[in-house]
Subunit: 370 residues, 2 copies
C-alpha cells in the first residue's frame, strides 16, 4: 500500500499531551489496517523559540513542505506574551500557513448530541448543528503590505505621534480558489454556500462578492449561493445557526466567525480543522491539521486536557490527505461511541457528572472502541 | 430653560414608522416637562438618493453639523442594492459619522427581563445582561486609504486580473480618545474595561493595545483593564457574556461583536445606540442616535415594527446630549412598565402570545406610561 508521511508538531501548552493520544491512534491504524506511516516529530511555537530563537526553524519549514500532512497541536502561552511580534509563537503557525500556501481552512462546527447541553445556547437551537466554515487562510489583512507601526510626528493632531497600519488585499484569483473549495465541499453536503463580507463598506468585500458570484455562475450553478454582510452573519450564527450549510469568508472574518460558531456547539474541545493547499506531485493536497482550541496553559501538564479535537483532526487527515474515507468514518464513530458510553474529560462534565477521565484514558478508550 | 435642537432623519424602510413614535415622545416632554425642542426633518439613505441622487445632500450635512443631536431611523433596502458603492444608502450614514467626527459609538446590550426567553441563549446565561460596547466609529478599515478595486493584469498568477484593497489605519490619538470615552463610561458603571483587537496578528492591534494601556496607566488607573483577542472575544460573548462590563474595540471588530452581542439579548428591536464626538461650543457633544436594528424592508409600511429601539435612542439623547438624566430614566422606566404589562409588538411575541400591538399603539402606550 501507499506510505503516508506525517510531520507532528505538538507545540505548546496542552499540545504535546493531546498529540500523544493521536500517536496511539496512528499506531492502531498502522498495526490493524495495514497503513504505513512515516512519522517525524519537530518543534513549533514557543517550544521552537526556546530551542532555536525562532517559532519555526527553516529546517522544520522544509520538512513541513516535504510531507503529506502536518499535524499541529497548539501554539502560545503567557511565557511568550512579551516576545517581539516577529518571534511570537503565532508567527510559526502563520509561516506554515503562508509558505505551504494553505488557502482553504475547513472548520466544521458540529454539535455532538451527547454534549448539546454544554452549549450556552438552547438545545433546540443547536441540536444537530452541522455547519462548515471555509476560511481563506493565506491572504487578506493577515499578510497584506504595507503594515507596521510608524511615527507620525509631523501630524500635530495626533496625540501620541504614532500610526499603526495593516492592509487588506485580495486578488480575484485568491478569492476564486477558496470559493471553489467551498462549492466543492458543499456539493458533498447540503449543496448550499453562504458567502460573508462587508461589501457595503469595503471594496475588497465588493471584489469578494463579485468573484464568488462569478465562480458560482461559471462553474457551480447547481449549488445554492447566498451573500450576507459579516455583521449580520455574526447575528444569524447566534440566532439560528442551523440555517447555514457551508460558509465561505475571508481570513479575518473567518477567524472571528468560526470561533463564535465553535463556541455555539459547546464542544470547543471537540472541534478539528484542516488547512488545505494545492495538490502536490503525488496528488495529495498540501495539508495541515490542528484542533480549533488553543494551548490552554491553565491546564497544561496536568493530563486532563481533552484529546478529541486533535484526534478528530487526524480523522480529517485520513479523509482529505489520504482518501481513507472508511478509516476516517471509523475513527469518528469510535469517538461518538465513547461519548455515548458516558466517558468524559473534565471539560465535558457537568458538576454532578461523576469522575472525569484523563487525557490518556480518553485516548485509550477511543483506541479500544476502534 | 435651554432649547434643544434636533434633526430627525427617518431614512428608509421602517425608519419613518418608528421615528413617528419618537416624535410623540418628544412632544410629550415638550408639553409636560417644559423642555423646548427645535425639531427639523430631512432625508438620508435611499430616501435622499431618490430625491437628490445622493444618500446625504450637502445641505443636510450642514444642518446635521449645526444641531445638538441627530436622530436617525435606518438606511438601506433591496431597491438600492444595485447602486454604485459611492451612492449606496450606507454612504449617507458613513458620511455623517465621519464629517461629524463621531468617534465613540455606544452600543448597550441589555437583556430585558420580560424578554429573556427570546434569546437563543439559555435564560441563565443572559438574564440581567448589561454590557456596553464602545466602538471606534470614524477610522480603521472603514475609512483608511488607499482603497479600491484595481486591475492586476501584469500578475500572471492572478486569475481574474483584479485586486481589492482596504487599509486599516489608526493613529495613537484616535485610539486614545475612544479609550478615554470607554474608561469614563466604565467609571459610571462596573468600572471594568476589556479592550479587544488582534495584536497577535496585526500591528494596528499592537498599537491599539499599547495606547489603551497608556491611557489606562496615565489617567484611569482606578479602572480595571483587561485585553482579549477579538476572536476569543466573540467566543466569550457567546459563552458567558456577563463577564464583561465595558468593551472597547475598533470600527470593524465593533461592527461584528456588537451585532453578536445585540443578538444575545434576544431584543434586537429594543436596542439603541449613541455616536458621540467632541464637545461643541455649547458644551454638548456632537451626537447622532439610532437604533441598532436595520431598515427591515420585509415589514416596512405595515405598521408592525417595534419603535422601542428608536425611542430608547432618544432616551440616550436626553442623557448624553441634554443632561436630562431624570427624563432619560423616566422614559426607560416607561418602556419597562409597558413591557411588564405584557404589551408586545409582533417581534416580541411567542406563537401562543395573543394579539400583538402595532407600532403606533406601542408608542401611545409608552407615552401614556410617562
Ligand atoms: C493563533 C492565531 C494566529 C490564529 C489566527 O488568528 O488565525 C488563531 O486564532 C486561529 O484562528 O487559528
Ligand atoms: C449600515 C452599515 C454601514 C453599518 C456599519 O457597518 O457600520 C451598520 O452595520 C452598523 O453597524 O451601524
Amino acid at each position: 500500500s501507499d506510505r503516508y508521511s506525517l510531520l507532528i508538531l505538538p507545540g505548546d501548552g496542552i499540545g504535546p499531551e493531546v498529540m500523544a493520544e493521536v500517536v496511539k491512534v496512528i499506531d492502531w491504524f498502522a498495526a490493524n489496517r495495514g497503513m504505513e506511516f512515516d512519522v517525524s516529530h519537530d518543534l513549533v511555537g514557543g517550544a521552537a523559540y526556546d530551542a532555536h530563537g525562532a517559532p519555526l526553524s527553516d529546517a522544520t519549514m522544509a520538512r513541513a513542505q516535504a510531507v503529506d500532512a502536518v499535524l499541529l497541536g497548539a501554539v502560545g502561552g503567557p511565557k511568550y506574551d512579551a516576545l517581539d511580534f516577529s518571534v511570537k509563537p503565532e508567527r510559526g503557525l502563520l509561516r506554515l500557513r503562508k509558505e505551504m500556501d494553505l488557502f482553504a481552512n475547513l472548520r466544521p462546527a458540529q454539535c455532538f448530541d451527547a454534549l448539546a447541553d454544554f452549549s450556552s445556547l438552547k438545545r433546540e437551537v443547536v441540536a444537530g448543528l452541522d455547519i462548515l466554515i471555509v476560511r481563506e487562510l493565506t491572504s487578506g489583512i493577515y499578510f497584506g503590505e504595507p503594515r507596521g507601526i510608524h511615527s507620525d510626528d509631523n501630524n500635530p493632531d495626533n496625540e501620541g505621534g504614532r500610526v499603526g497600519i495593516n492592509t487588506q488585499r485580495y486578488t480575484s484569483g485568491e478569492i476564486r480558489r477558496v470559493a471553489r473549495s467551498a462549492f466543492e465541499l458543499a456539493r458533498k453536503r447540503g449543496n448550499r454556500v453562504c458567502s460573508m463580507e462587508k461589501a457595503n463598506v469595503m471594496e475588497s468585500g465588493i471584489l469578494w462578492r463579485e468573484e464568488v458570484t462569478w465562480v458560482h455562475q461559471q462553474e457551480y450553478p447547481d449549488v445554492e449561493l447566498s451573500h450576507m454582510y459579516a455583521d449580520n452573519g455574526a447575528m444569524q450564527l447566534v440566532r439560528n445557526p442551523r440555517q447555514f450549510d457551508v460558509i465561505v469568508t475571508d481570513n479575518l472574518f473567518g477567524d472571528i466567525l468560526s470561533d463564535a460558531a465553535a463556541m455555539l456547539t459547546g464542544s470547543l474541545g471537540m472541534l478539528p480543522s484542516a488547512s488545505l493547499g494545492a495538490p502536490m506531485a503525488n496528488g495529495r493536497p498540501k495539508a495541515l491539521y490542528e484542533p480549533v482550541h488553543g494551548s490552554a496553559p491553565d491546564i497544561a501538564g496536568q493530563g486532563m486536557a481533552n484529546p478529541i479535537a486533535c484526534i478528530l483532526s487526524f480523522a480529517m487527515a485520513l479523509r482529505y490527505s489520504f482518501g481513507e474515507l472508511a478509516a476516517a468514518d471509523a475513527l469518528e464513530a469510535a469517538v461518538e461511541r465513547v461519548l455515548a458510553d458516558g466517558v468524559r474529560t473534565a471539560d465535558l462534565m457537568t458538576p454532578e457528572g461523576g469522575r472525569p477521565v484523563g487525557t490518556a484514558e480518553m485516548g485509550d478508550r477511543i483506541v479500544a472502541a476502534l
